[in-house]
């Protein structure tokens, strides 16, 4: 998904860490002295060992999954933020995506194992040169207004995204598309201007939803209405309160969905969201706050599911600015960083340290051992070689509203002090951060992250190709550009993986980013909630398979 929503936690400023410790004291888990010590740890330099991220057992669920699903019931979900508007072609927001994914169908979809699967498109063919995609639609699929979904609806829906008149912020999802044609009622032919291996996964993005065009004629846009062909029908949206959905009895994947109603309640505050689940106001919460994972794991009525997400957190180094133009300075920074304490302070240990962009186990990941610990002497030597025996002064720009990212920045600041780099902290609210770092590119070091991705090509092209809008660090390497072109042109996974692995090797040498960790994302629910599966993109679309075992 394209919006940046780092783990989706947006606590009111300054309350999260304190709140956590307070709660631990209440629960009798910490003495006051422990609390003081740990607060000091969260706020200042940390020297310690990395706590292995505990894996969450889902063994009990497998047995429960064998039971026969029971239809009916209302499923109440505690959502992390209010979408505001529902037109995902006009706003690229995770919160809106988490609503529309239940209402609309796309041509394709992403499965829990991150593979691309058919949705409205029953099957497809790709021409030899990778330029022409022919999609065959399911027949007899009905929109919620009762009309059948045809190839022309697909054409109009996707064309609206790329039409300059729409001024869509997500138009680049289909940047490679040259034309979309309806060959007959059930066949859509998409022609590309250049091969784009990421097309199939892009079509699963919330910006590529398929809607009946008459809705736009009637309402102007999709901000406050939602008529799709998905498992649930839109009932109402009361801003900042709730969104109500009801079962689509005509859903084309029978017998889904099992639930009669889905209520999405907005619970932006971390404590309130967790408490709502425990208290019983909701049956499910998304974005389990890192500080609550351990407590909820010990709660017998609650089960968690989740794992690593495809979002990396890193120090982006402005390679166009002195003294960071010198690769030795960037190497020194990389050697001074100690990821264990960073993850402890940012995510209470629920993160995976990494020095490459892709998570280990991803098909295109460069195989790496766990990143080594810091080498302060080596880093100092490199700095001296680069002409800074006593270090230098610089700034760190970061996100003020995401507690885990500001904590990351604070620990990085302390760690850099050890090699003489005195960084002034510049934490900005999200709106300013987007402007200062991503548009104006006015920063030295930025502690930030990427949004999730399905196809790895997207994350490399966006961030590292010469002159690319998203290449906020100003990196440029012709060899990388060449490899990225190869990766995009090929549809052979092995060939692509080889290109991207080489890119990761080069990035490790050039270090425009010092990668830190990959976060984890969990959903928590009552034990009577059956059939839910976590998807690493962060999607909650498996709600269509949920049924309630408490009726």
């Amino acid at each position: 998904m394209s919006s940046f929503d780092p783990a989706g936690t947006k606590p009111a400023r300054g309350q999260d860490a304190f709140e956590f410790y307070f709660r631990q004291i209440l629960a009798g888990k910490l003495t006051r002295r422990d609390a003081m010590k740990r607060t000091a740890v969260a706020g200042a330099a940390v020297i310690g060992t990395m706590a292995a991220a505990p894996a969450i057992s889902s063994a009990w669920r497998t047995s429960a999954q064998d039971a026969t699903p029971v239809a009916g019931g209302t499923f109440r979900m505690g959502m992390q933020s209010d979408p505001g508007a529902l037109d995902t072609q006009l706003q690229s927001l995770t919160a809106a995506w988490h609503v529309v994914e239940h209402i609309y169908s796309n041509l394709t979809t992403i499965m829990p194992d991150m593979s691309v699967a058919p949705d409205l498109a029953e099957s497809w063919e790709i021409s030899e040169d990778g330029i022409t995609y022919t999609f065959h639609l399911h027949q007899g699929v009905l929109f919620h207004n009762g009309r059948e979904v045809t190839a022309n609806d697909v054409k109009v829906s996707l064309e609206r995204l790329i039409d300059p008149a729409t001024a869509s912020p997500s138009a680049s999802d289909l940047a490679s598309v040259a034309s979309i044609e309806a060959a007959d009622d059930y066949t859509v032919v998409i022609t590309l201007s250049a091969a784009d291996a990421a097309l199939l996964s892009s079509l699963a993005n919330s910006s590529c939803l398929i809607f009946p065009p008459e809705v736009i004629e009637e309402h102007g846009d999709l901000s406050q209405v939602a008529i799709g062909s998905g498992p649930f029908k839109f009932v109402e949206y009361i801003p900042n309160t709730h969104i109500k959905l009801e079962r689509n009895a005509d859903y084309f994947v029978q017998p889904l969905p099992y639930l009669d109603e889905v209520e999405l309640l907005i619970a932006a505050n971390d404590t309130a969201r967790t408490a709502a689940l425990v208290q019983g106001t909701v049956d499910f919460i998304e974005y389990v706050p890192a500080q609550d994972i351990e407590t909820l794991q010990t709660n017998e009525d609650i089960v968690l599911t989740g794992n690593a997400i495809s979002q990396i957190r890193m120090i982006g180094i402005n390679v166009t600015r002195e003294p960071f133009t010198d690769v030795r300075v960037r190497q020194a920074i990389s050697m001074a960083v100690d990821r264990g304490p960073i993850i402890e302070a940012a995510l209470f240990g629920f993160g995976t340290p990494t020095d490459v962009v892709l998570a280990q186990g991803h098909w295109a990941a460069l195989e790496r051992p766990e990143p080594p610990g810091p080498d302060i002497e080596g880093a100092k030597a490199l700095l001296a070689e680069a002409g800074f025996p006593d270090g230098f002064e610089t700034t760190i720009t970061g996100w003020a509203e995401y507690g885990f990212l500001s904590n990351t920045a604070i620990v990085v600041q302390e760690q850099l002090k050890q090699i003489g780099i005195e960084a002034e902290m510049n934490l900005l609210d999200s709106g300013s951060m987007g402007q200062v770092v991503y548009v104006d590119k006015d920063f030295d070091l930025a502690v930030t992250g990427t949004s999730g991705y399905v196809d790895p090509g997207a994350v490399f092209v966006e961030n590292f190709r010469t002159g690319e809008g998203g290449n906020f660090v100003g990196y440029s390497n012709p060899e990388v550009d060449e490899l990225l072109a190869q990766g995009a042109a090929s549809t052979d996974q092995e060939e692509r993986a080889a290109a991207y692995r080489r890119v990761q090797e080069i990035l490790l040498e050039d270090l425009p980013w010092v990668n830190l960790y990959i976060g984890q994302q969990y959903e928590a629910m009552k034990t009577f909630v059956m059939g839910y599966q976590h998807i690493p993109t962060g999607s909650n679309r498996m709600v269509r398979e949920v049924w309630l075992n408490n009726q």
Partner: protein, 316 residues
Amino acid sequence: MGRYLIRRMLLLIPVLFGVSLLVFALIHAIPGDITNFVIGTDTRISEEQRELVKKSYGLDQPLPVQYAKWMGHVLQGDLGTSFRTRRDIWDELSLRLPVTAQLAVMAAAFAILLAIPIGVLAAIKRNSRIDYAATIGTLIGISLPNFLLATILVLIFSYHLKWLPPIGYVPFREDPVGNLKVMLMPSVSLALPLTAVLMRYTRSAVLEALSHDHVRVARAKGLAGRTVMSRHVLRNASIPIITVVGIQFATLLGGTVIIETIFGLPGIGRYIYESISTRDYPVVQGVTLVMATIFVLISLVVDILYAFMDPRLRHR
């Protein structure tokens, strides 16, 4: 009195004009605009597409033009539509004002019902245990931020005791019991600082009134203690107390920003908070203007109440 009222009403015009200029300047001075929000950091976007998005919100025009256009609509009673939700701002306000009003009124009621009796008692029994307890209570109330009290309440009453839902607002007319259950913790959290300040003011106001000569005279001529209290002490003490309630009401509205976010209430505070962080200019400007009007009107009402309570002012 009539002339006084008209003069006060006319004074609203320059005040609100100033507010509109100030809020327009301030919100535009913060880096970033709505396009950063709708784009997220989807960084594949081209420069041209970014300009296109900007233009679709009318942000390509010079600031004075944007201000003049906005003012033109406001003067016709049109606050426009939100950049973010594309809903009409008046419609949204009509949904949200009642929520914040209920919250503020409940909080003020809690504060007044709690603070005034205790404050009076503390003054009468000066330097007693009750007085000391009230002083300590005040100190805690003033120094404890209300978001912390909110968190403590959620942990106790939702997380541990499971009595009250931390989220899930329902309007009063749909489900009165459910509504009160949801509004209880927010209004108590919001009431805290006001209670503390009010208690303190009540105590000193009553103490001051008690020291007046006419109170001693009233006592000396043998009036019953209760009559002295209600006719001579409380009546005099009420003027500063009303002023404090009036002034603190604004602080109360400010507090709704955090409280509404914690408890998921669809009020004005939350609306403006989200709008500032997304640079939803029409909402920030429009809602601030409306809130400023409300605030100015409240202080006007307080001044009028004043006049009724204090005969010296009535005859001016």
